[in-house]
Structures are given as C-alpha cells and as structure tokens.
C-alpha cells in the first residue's frame, strides 16, 4: 500500500546518488521506479519528504522527477498529485524545473 508521505531518508536511502541503476545502488531511476511510478499509477496524492538525506545531486533529481515525464506522465498530473516538503526551498524549485523542462 502506498503511504501518504514518502520519506526518502527512511524509506529509500540516506545516500541517494547517481542517475541510472548502473550508476549506483540508490539512483534516481530506482527511486522513480519503486516509489514515484506506483504512486502516479494509482493516482494517489503523495507528499515527498526530502529532508534527512546527506544531499541530492542534480543527476538523481533530474532522473527521478524529470524522468516521470519521459516515462509518460504529464507535468500537470505530477503537480496535481505530488507535493514536496524540504527545509531547503531551492530543492523544490529545482525539482519543479526538472519536471517542467523534461
């Protein structure tokens, strides 16, 4: 069952890094496939909690969130179903940018 909030640090990894599965064990592609795509397919409203990890590289964020558009979800659907929580507002701006320009 998909939860209302996905806490990346607790449910995925405190060390997200890399773009593709071949880059490393906690890549953006893996996070998208295991967490974001199932939530989008169920059309469930979710909040992504970005706090608590060591950091996010652009390759991880772009592949995880921008990649959603490339696998067939529209930016409007993503924004209507997904909200983001972060103590660093620039992260949310960056994610929105990746979704809008994917």
């Amino acid at each position: 069952m998909i939860k209302d909030t996905i806490k990346i640090a607790e449910e995925f990894s405190r060390y997200p890094a890399g773009r593709f599965d071949t880059d490393g064990p906690y890549s953006g592609e893996k996070f998208r496939r295991e967490f974001l795509v199932p939530a989008m397919q169920e059309k469930k409203k979710i909040c992504i909690d970005l706090d608590g990890v060591r950091g996010y590289g652009s390759s991880f964020l772009e592949e995880a969130f921008g990649g959603l558009v490339r696998v067939g979800f529209s930016a409007e659907d993503i924004f209507s179903l997904m909200t983001f929580h972060s103590s660093d507002p620039s992260l949310v701006i960056e994610i929105r940018d990746y979704i809008e320009h994917a």
Binding site: Y15, G24, G57, F60
Partner: protein, 346 residues
C-alpha cells in the same frame, strides 16, 4: 680460455662492486628524482619516489607523474620483482599522494600473479605513518609495526569504490558533522557523489562494467585530510579526463570550444568551458548542474580553494577568482581537490 687466478678474480669482483656503487650514487645524485634502477640486487626494478609528491608546480608534477607512470609500466611486466622506494621521500601532498595510491591500486590489480611489488620505507617516520594510514603497506601485503599517531597523519581518511556510493562519504567526512556547516556538508556530498557518477557515465567509455557496481574494479579514490587548520578533500579517477570525454558527450559545446580556441584547444580551456557551461537552466546560483556542482561547494566559503586537474590542464578557483594552467605532463585522469579553512567552517 685462460683461467683467472684467484688474485685476479678478487680484483675484478672489487672493481665490479665499486663500479656498481658509483653508478647507483650517480643516479641518486641526478637531477631527475623519479628514476628507476634496473640492476639492483634482488630486485628487477627499483622505482624511486620523489622527495615531494605533489601535482602543484611544473617540476613537482613532472616528478610525480613520471613516478606514478613508472609504477604502471614496470609493474605490468610478467615475473618481475619491483621495489617502490620511498627512502628519500620527505613530504606527501594529498593530490600527488592520492594519484600514487590510485595508480598503485591499479598496478596491483593489473599485475600478473608472478610479479611482486613491495615498498621500501622512508627515512622520515611520518611518511611511513601516512603510507600505513592510507593502506599502502596493506595493499602490498606488508605488515610493518607502525602505528600512526601524529595528528596530521591520523586525520588522513581514505576511500575507494566504483559507481555512486553515497555512504562512502561517511568514511572520509562523517567525522566532521557538527564541525562544518550544513550547506558545506550538503555541497561536499553532492560534489563527491556527482564526481562518482561522472566516473560511471564519462570517465571510462570503454569499460564493460555496466551491471557490476559492487565488483572489485575501482573507478575512483578519495582522501580527506586535516592539516594546518585546513580541510582537504581530494577525489580522483584514472579515466579519459574531461578533455577526452567532452567531444563525444557534449558535441555542441565541443564545437563552440573549437570555434573559440582553435582545433586543438588547451586542456585547461576545455575544463574551464565545461564548468562554465554546466549551469542549471534556471540560472539559480545556489544549485548547479554537472561539473558546476563541484565548484559550487566553495563559492561562499572564505579562503576556499578548488583545483580541477584533468589530463594536462588545471582549473583553479580561489574565492571565485579563476585561473587556468597547462602542464607538460598529463595525469591521465581527473583529480578534484577542495580545500577549506576549518576556522571558517565552525
């Protein structure tokens, strides 16, 4: 053939011994400090490490590069006994030392089973402690009774791996939690993991290790070192370098660089342009993309210095002031070094 008398034989042995010693002395005295002796007793090759192992400055870099390339060259031969001689080494700088550690690791993994590589200790005990701390003796199967205790030495931290392994951050920088700001922690994590990702995507175009990021193949090496109230974080790979990967990975940028600097641009200019044109689309200054994430770390840190060495080129940024250099010798890979004053971090 006339048989040699006993007296004559003793005389010839003595002469031979004297000649050998004289030749050895001549080589040791030579200007070139990264020599290889090829006639020593018990060893097929003795590769002498330079007095100063550093990538900064033309002479130091030249000595360092010759030394590490000799490692690769002589250790690759079958059925040889190779001695890496640190006797005269008096100072180890993190950049040159990391390159040596990476090349040694590669030499050990590439060598044939019949080739033996050993290390001769330095006259300077502190150097031996560093070699022990960064695992050089362990790698060569030597177990000298050395216990690192100097403050400068025990603060060397070392990690190696393949692919984007974020948890390796803890091995070298986890201890600085609470001592450095959250923004810097975040920046260093992002800088290091993006550098790791780059090694997967750009540095080794011919590798066939797509699926095995847990394999024994090492693609990157990194150090952290605290010295003189500064923190040094150094990362390197032995791939094709930024000038080697850019033409195929970013053909449009490569075209622009050729238009601007001619058909054979200097490596330093290629690095500079690659960093300059890796800004995020939104032009947000607090976040970057690609290589820009490596330089972003120190943008707001007083006294922060960044070095990006790739092949012949070197790009430096001191508190945002950029300079580029080109050296005669190529390091055949990429090395990124962040240096931060610790007093500014707390």
């Amino acid at each position: 053939m006339k048989r040699c008398s006993y007296k004559r034989r003793i005389y010839l042995e003595r002469i031979n011994h004297k000649r050998t010693r004289r030749k050895e002395k001549r080589i040791r005295k030579g200007r070139n400090s990264a020599k290889v002796i090829t006639y020593a007793k018990n060893w097929d090759y003795i590769i002498q490490a330079p007095e100063l192992l550093s990538l900064e400055g033309e002479k130091n870099r030249s000595d360092c590069v010759r030394f590490i390339k000799n490692l690769g060259k002589y250790c690759a031969e079958d059925n040889k006994r190779v001695l890496v001689d640190f006797t005269r080494t008096d100072r180890l700088i993190s950049d040159g030392t990391l390159m040596f550690r990476a090349y040694l690791c590669k030499a050990v993994s590439d060598k044939s089973a019949s080739t033996v590589i050993k290390c001769r200790q330095s006259r300077n005990l502190k150097i031996n402690e560093v070699l022990k701390q960064i695992g050089v003796f362990e790698l060569l199967g030597q177990h000298p009774k050395i216990t690192p205790h100097h403050k400068d030495v025990i603060n060397w931290r070392y990690a190696q791996g393949a692919g984007a392994l974020g948890e390796k951050y803890e091995d070298i920088l986890g201890q600085y939690d609470g001592a450095i700001t959250d923004a810097l922690k975040d920046g260093l994590y992002v800088g290091l993991t993006e550098a790791m990702t780059n090694t997967r995507q750009h540095a080794y175009p011919d590798s066939e290790n797509d699926e095995d990021y847990y394999s024994g193949v090492n693609e990157w090496w990194m150090f952290s070192q605290e010295m003189g109230n500064r923190l040094y974080v150094v990362f390197c790979d032995l791939g094709v370098g930024i000038p080697g990967s850019l033409p195929s990975k970013r053909p449009n940028l490569w075209k622009n660089i050729k238009q601007k600097f001619g058909s054979a641009p200097q490596d330093s200019k290629i690095i500079e342009e690659a960093i300059k044109y890796s800004q995020t689309r939104t032009e947000e200054k607090h976040r970057g993309k690609g290589l820009k994430q490596l330089t972003n770390v120190l943008e707001n840190t007083l006294g922060g210095i960044l070095y990006v060495h790739s092949n012949h080129g070197c790009y430096t940024s001191r508190e945002g002031e950029i300079a580029t250099y080109d050296y005669r010798n190529s390091i055949s890979g990429t090395l990124i070094s962040w240096s931060l004053p610790l007093s500014e971090l707390t």
